[in-house]
């Protein structure tokens, strides 16, 4: 059924159709509309049976989810940014315990400085947590991925985070083809836990594992996640059969066939990239796009296949690994081990800065001309940055306090901007 609704509502409705039994969430911008939507559905009785728990922190949210999931209930939560960080101990705990919790992360920058707008730094910080990470390009895909996520999580007994760009997707009204309850029921069977807290069959969950077994346990967690590389494409095919559209999968390419330059990105920016690429293709540029949907597990083989014939790859990232540079590009590079091509990383959109077609056009043309540094920052105010760096140098003079006193303060003051 076609609707014109807010992305958050599309997600809330899709999650509700997955028949979650326990929802426990703490509000944080820009996820609030999702959990508000779900709490209303529970309160009106539209979503039943379902327990909606208003928790006192994100750490509590994930902890309640752990208890609920371990006790055999299909469990859902949502967060962003600071909230995700606050629950990190429990995030690792959930994946270590193999609990099929599904969580929406409405991608938002991490402070300090506090910033409520979109970028990928939050979920990127959890890429090693053992959770499966799926990135939605549109609100349609965001809704669809949640349905696939529950199925994937419960089959593998692993938690899944569905990442959608905060505000850009969550707060945008667009056309969504909302599934019917029958379609979701046909796709997603009831939750059958692999093991559960049950007085009739008691188990102890969460024992202390020493050096003699820990490595094997961790390897098994990795191996289990790698199984998702096979299962995710299959789930997308099964989804298409029931819902009638392509959604999810590990990656997708756009106009990549004879591309000499390939642009790689995650999330909603792919839309703007595709419009820019269309323009350039119309002018004869041989340029294509690789969108990565499953970031964890990272689809190395598929990424390699998509990029191997290009001359150069530009990875556009919405997060910055301070001290080194790109995150996605590092994973892309691993996939391209042994392949000779030029690689560029462009950091854009941090803290919600708009990524415009104009800037992308310029960036892509520079990439085509190989006129880019290995690491580029899009739309950076270089003048301001240089001024700040110079000022910092002036203030932080090396030497002893005695030497500082010897300096002519007038001279220093004259150099300050």
């Amino acid at each position: 059924m076609l609707s014109q609704i807010e992305g958050s509502k599309a997600v809330a409705d899709a999650v509700a159709q997955c028949r979650p039994e326990v929802i426990c969430a703490y509000p944080i911008s820009p996820q609030t509309h999702i959990v508000e939507g779900l709490s209303k559905l529970v309160k009106t009785g539209d979503l039943t049976p379902c327990e909606y728990i208003n928790v006192e922190s994100e750490f509590a949210a994930m902890s309640v989810a752990i208890g609920s999931s371990a006790a055999g209930a299909r469990t859902y939560t949502a967060t962003a940014s600071q909230g995700l960080l606050y629950m990190v101990e429990a995030v690792y705990n959930a994946s270590g315990l193999g609990l099929p919790i599904v969580m929406t992360v409405a991608n938002r920058a991490i402070g300090s400085p506090i910033n409520i707008w979109n970028d990928h730094s939050d979920t990127m910080s959890q890429r090693d947590s053992g959770w499966i990470q799926l990135y939605a390009e549109t609100n349609q895909e965001a809704a669809d991925l949640h349905i696939q996520a529950f199925k994937l999580a419960e089959e593998l007994s692993l938690p899944v985070m569905v990442c959608m760009d905060g505000f850009i997707l969550t707060h945008a009204y667009e056309r969504i083809d909302q599934p019917t309850q029958e379609q979701v029921d046909a796709y997603l069977p009831p939750f059958t836990p692999r093991q559960t807290l049950d007085p009739d069959n008691p188990v102890s969950i969460g024992a202390m594992v020493g050096p003699e077994a820990f490595s094997e346990v961790r390897y098994l967690a990795h191996a289990k996640q790698m199984l998702a590389l096979e299962r995710i494409p299959e789930l997308a095919v099964e989804f298409n059969e029931i819902f009638g559209r392509e959604s999810g999968g590990l990656i997708h390419t756009y106009r990549a066939d004879d591309a000499e330059t390939m642009i790689v990105a995650l999330g909603s920016v792919l839309g703007t990239i595709k419009d820019t690429v269309d323009e350039m293709r119309d002018e004869g540029h041989k340029i294509g796009v690789l969108g990565i949907t499953s970031f964890r597990p990272f689809p190395q083989q598929q990424v390699r296949e998509a990029l191997v014939n290009a001359q150069r790859v530009l990875v556009l990232e919405k997060a910055l690994a301070v001290g080194i540079g790109g995150i996605v590009s590092a994973n892309v590079r691993t996939s391209l081990s042994g392949v000779q091509l030029r690689g560029y990383t462009a950091i854009a959109g941090l803290g919600g800065r708009a990524i415009t077609r104009e800037s992308l056009r310029s960036l892509f043309e520079n990439a085509e001309a190989d006129a880019l540094e290995p690491l580029t920052f899009v739309d950076m105010d270089w003048e301001l940055v240089q001024r700040e760096l110079q000022r910092d140098q002036l203030i932080r003079r090396p030497g002893t306090a005695y030497e500082h006193q010897e300096l002519n303060p007038g001279l220093v003051a004259a150099q300050l901007p």
Binding site: G67, S68, A70, A71, P199, G206, A207
Partner: protein, 373 residues
Amino acid sequence: MPYQPIKFYQTGSFVVGNRLLDVEARSTQSDPKRANTLTSGHRACQGCGEALGARYALDTVSRVTGGKMIASNATGCLEVFSTPFPETSWQIPWIHSLFGNAPAVATGIAAAMRVKGRDDVRVVGQGGDGGTVDIGFGCLSGMFERNDDVLYICYDNEAYMNTGVQRSGATPGGARTATTQPVGPHPGNEFGQGKNLPRIAMAHEIPYVGTATVADLRDLEYKVEKAMTFRGARYLHILVTCPLGWGSASRDSIRIARLAVETGIFPVFEAERGEVTGVTKIRRRVPVEEYLKLQRRYAHLFGKKPQPEILHNIQAAADRNITRYGLLDDTPDDLKPPGEAKDAATSGHDEAQPEDSETDAMALTSESFEGAR
């Protein structure tokens, strides 16, 4: 038959008369078919009060629920010594998640039971003082505020024992820990205002709050049973001796816990919705030194550099408890049963009278029976 003097306080109210009681009145522990929720084979220290308290409490929960229970456990001694992979001592469904989230995990389990229509399955959350009073405090308060149907039990041994005896929010003033060493001008833990979890629980106005110790099995079992008659958030705070952390003889664990009560240092009471509904009176009051002297964590208060001021503070805190909760019996002496009359002039140092007649024992038994109920 040789005459065997029995010191009543060492053996608890009903041990002597257990076989003379109706089956329903006997302790859970006396039943050979008890659940043994925490069964043998765990790695606790000799004389561990927490192992004792956990078994006492959870066996009682198991009895009243017919075994339909699930427990969530914070990181700490209890969790570590009970589940060294691949072994477990737990005969109930049990989960350990993190240090600070046992109450929240319990909330989640309770929600799952509720949504599945399993009202018959009851949920217990448990942890040490560190996991309850400090790092788990936020989650505990949230659980209280929502009135989630969880019984939370804190086994309080007054420090972070599993990591090597560091100070927690529950460490009493003057006590030695690895981070409050007995050196300098203020040896041992600083005196603050403390963090009285039972009273904080009462401030949340939850259905039931109770305190107990491992010295009085019957009282502990009673409190657990009482707590399980309520739905909603309930809190039990159990003082458990830690021979290693307190520097006490493992054979003294129960004795020390009793002395904590009899000095007034640890008040035993229960409350409903924020109002105290019952206290366990001190039968024979003793000065705090009798309790402190058995523990090397207080050794620096005595000996070569005594700390009379700290002793005074500890005694003052005990006095305050006695007044606040009315822990001393003010029945006039001539109305007390024989053998119980107190000399008003004594400072409470006298030894308990040995039982020389069964009548006295029975009389004292029923008297204490009243007191514990």
